[in-house]
């Protein structure tokens, strides 16, 4: 179970992992720490990774006292000491960040689920085979 101080720590860490860009704040500034905690709580694997990362970081007060370079250094230390958990944590953070409509808008991506609308199937154009059709069969006979 992640408690509130850790949520603040997480938010600060998220801002370094996915920092502000353009007119968007970082992942922490977007308020994604609660979302990350909620989603992780539904999956033991993710929850374990989240807790491992937060426990390996300096205490919330110490982390908050660091400048950006210092926070990055602390995160790199965790990445080095707990690579599997850190990688899994990054996966969930990235996934949640790129589920956000504001992020889709900045990337000029539709962001909708793949179905039911899908996309338009282009026409089949057999002329693309004109070169390869000139090649003689070359499969190996037995």
């Amino acid at each position: 179970m992640v408690i509130k101080p850790d949520a603040d720590l997480l938010s600060a860490a998220l801002d370094r992992v996915v920092p502000p860009v353009g007119d968007l704040p970082g992942a922490g500034g977007m308020g994604l720490s609660e979302e990350v905690i909620k989603r992780c709580s539904a999956d033991d694997r993710f929850n374990g990774a989240l807790n491992t990362v937060l426990e390996a970081l300096p205490s919330p007060n110490d982390f908050m006292a660091l400048d950006d370079g210092g926070r990055d250094g602390a995160l790199r230390a965790v990445e080095s000491s707990h690579p599997a958990a850190f990688g899994l944590w990054l996966d969930i953070v990235y996934t949640i960040y790129y589920m956000q409509p504001d992020v889709h808008a900045r990337l000029n991506w539709h962001g909708r689920s793949p179905q039911p609308d899908g996309n338009e199937m282009p026409p089949w154009d057999e002329s693309i085979l004109s070169v390869i059709r000139q090649r003689e069969p070359f499969w190996r006979k037995v």
């Binding site: 920092p19 996934t95 589920m99 179905q115 338009e120 390869i132 090649r135 499969w139």
Partner: protein
């Protein structure tokens, strides 16, 4: 040009019965001048997920009991039941409702890495079993449910080459198969039509074959970029055969709408999965399908013949089903696991294991490759993810390359930004100040060439029973031991170098190398191989156990070598052929 009907049914057998159950006819010209008849699926208004099979007597002795309702089990069930065999199938998973697949869910990307992960060790549903992969370079991936892994496959459906069946004769490595490409060809053809194949004839890298029931899936602007590069290099490429509808085909199955996420289950039902293709036929013909039931043991009598199975039902109650024959269709990990679990005084090393080869010679297909970042926004999230085009320029052995056998290139598309951030070519986007610039460069601009390399059998690559890890029923889980051979490493290195050339020729400005993917153990092969010699194989050329004459294996376990293509059409062709053997040669198994 000769037109004739019944080319697939030279005698009374499975195919005859499959045809009889169908309701319409189309005549298809074949590439060889011989034309054949295909009859598409009959219509019903019943969704597969609504199907129930409750009117069977569970205390009867069925003719045939099948373990596993995936690609091969479904094909056998349809064939045997249409030939009036009394068939029961036991499946540990459940029916899927295509309208509830995550592709229509706003959280689809999150589900793709959790409850809908391809990896059962990540998905961890009660119907899954864990695998110990501590000593494996590859993680096996699969889906447990009616349809099996065809629910989550990409449905890329090339065939083995004739040379794949003769690697010992031709390359003095591994073993020849006891069957040939020609033996399987009619069953490949039938399976193409039942599953629904989109594709086009004329591929110079493969023998001529009958016309597919649907035209190819268009390869898109991004596909044309890569195809053009192959053309300029003078290298082979061809539009991929796919069990994905390019037009409406089959019961309630629409054409593909290019959603780009065919691994998440197909909401559109355009991608063939056996819950949509073979299973409605099997159930129509009387097959009993028991879901949510985990087989824990094949039972035998005092002579060692199979008598049925013991299983745990959906409530966890231990039950027994009797049958005159047992067919294993539980994939190249599930089948050896269950054979090893079925040891007895008469078979202390596991059932059908007098050769000691049950679980040995595991093959996955090594998968690696290169990805290219392009400057011109090919928008590669539109269309099937990995069945676009293939190249078999380097499929056959060339001793100058420094390795035996060869590989297929398979073009792959990118997906949404979350997937790109999690990794292109296995490389996660960096966090921190570099993140946005790199993500934006890769997103909407990344295409890949994956290499499926021939994976030759080695006995130390194996499935055994883990001494500690168990599934949710307390049964020992499989332990996977697998390492990459020197031949495979050399093959992958060659593929990466050649793939880089293609991507650069296509205009890529940045290349990302994936030396070897870990989570790509889709192809579970070789762990109960077929052969003529009982000391060097587990089953004969018909899939019948050398040791137990009423035990058959029809999944990827029976592969002698891996070939260098996605194996499902071959698995299903083998299953159909075994069913035909049972129908025609094993009348003793029918009440």
């Amino acid at each position: 040009m000769v037109w004739h009907r019944g080319v697939y049914a030279p005698r009374k057998g499975a195919i005859f019965h499959l045809w009889r159950a169908l309701d319409a006819r189309i005549v298809i010209p074949s590439e060889t001048g011989v034309e054949s008849v295909w009859i598409p699926a009959h219509r019903t208004d019943t969704l597969p997920s609504d199907m129930t099979t409750t009117d069977h007597d569970p205390d009867r002795t069925a003719d045939v009991l099948i373990v596993g309702a995936g690609a091969s089990g479904a094909a056998v069930a349809a064939s045997l039941s249409e030939a009036s065999f009394d068939v029961v199938c036991i499946e540990q998973g459940h029916w899927q409702d295509s309208f509830k697949y995550p592709s229509a869910d706003p959280d689809f990307d999150l589900k793709a890495i959790s409850s809908w992960s391809i990896n059962p060790n990540k998905r961890r549903l009660p119907v899954d079993y864990p695998t110990n992969v501590e000593d494996s370079a590859v993680d096996p991936v699969m889906f447990n449910g009616v349809g099996g892994s065809t629910i989550m496959w990409v449905a890329h459906t090339p065939r083995l080459h004739p040379s794949d069946f003769r690697v010992k004769s031709q390359d003095d490595v591994a073993d020849d198969w006891p069957i040939s490409y020609e033996d399987l060809e009619p069953w490949y053809d039938l399976n193409d039509h039942v599953m629904g194949c989109s594709g086009i004839s004329g591929d110079p890298a493969n023998p001529p074959r009958s016309t597919r029931p649907m035209p190819p899936i268009p390869i898109g602007r991004d596909g044309e970029m890569i195809a053009g590069a192959f053309d300029r290099l003078g290298w082979h490429w061809w539009p991929s055969d796919a069990y994905i509808n390019s037009t409406r085909y089959g019961e309630g199955r629409d054409a593909c709408n290019f959603c780009g996420h065919n691994m998440l289950g197909c909401y559109q039902r355009a991608k063939a999965s056996t819950d949509l293709t073979y299973w409605p036929r099997a159930i129509d013909q009387g097959t009993e399908l028991v879901t949510g039931a985990r087989v824990r043991e094949i039972t035998t009598d005092s002579t060692g013949r199979a008598t049925g199975v013991n299983y745990l039902d959906a409530e966890g109650i231990d039950r027994h089903r009797s049958a005159r024959a047992v067919v294993m269709a539980a994939n190249g990990i599930g089948t050896p696991r269950l054979l090893l679990l079925s040891d007895s005084e008469k078979s202390p090393n596991g059932l059908s294991n007098s050769s000691g080869l049950v679980g040995k010679n595991l093959m996955f297909h090594m998968f690696g490759g290169a990805s290219g970042v392009f400057p011109n926004h090919p928008d590669p999230w539109v269309g099937p993810v990995a069945n676009i085009i293939l190249s078999q320029e380097f499929y056959e052995t060339d001793s100058d390359r420094g390795f035996l056998r060869g590989y297929t290139f398979q073009m792959g598309r990118g997906q949404g930004p979350g997937a790109i951030a999690r990794g292109v070519a296995g490389q996660r986007a960096p966090w921190g100040n570099e993140h946005h610039a790199i993500l934006e460069r890769r997103f909407r601009n990344t295409l890949s060439l994956g290499c499926i390399g021939d994976d030759l059998p080695e006995e130390h690559n194996s499935v055994t029973l883990d001494k500690r890890l168990t599934d949710s029923s307390g049964l020992p889980a499989p332990k996977i031991t697998y390492r990459v051979s020197e031949n495979s490493r050399a093959l992958l290195d060659h593929a990466i170098a050649q793939g880089t050339k293609v991507l650069e020729e296509a205009g890529a400005t940045e290349i990302l190398i994936n030396p070897q993917s870990r989570e790509t153990g889709w192809h579970l092969l070789g762990t109960a191989r077929m052969g003529n010699d009982p000391e060097r194989s587990v089953v004969d050329k018909n899939g019948q156990s050398h040791d137990v004459d009423n035990l058959f294996i029809v999944d990827g376990s029976v592969f002698v070598t891996g070939g260098a293509v996605n194996p499902t059409p071959t698995i299903q062709a083998i299953a159909l052929r075994t069913a035909d053997y049972i129908i025609n040669e094993r009348g003793d198994l029918k009440a």
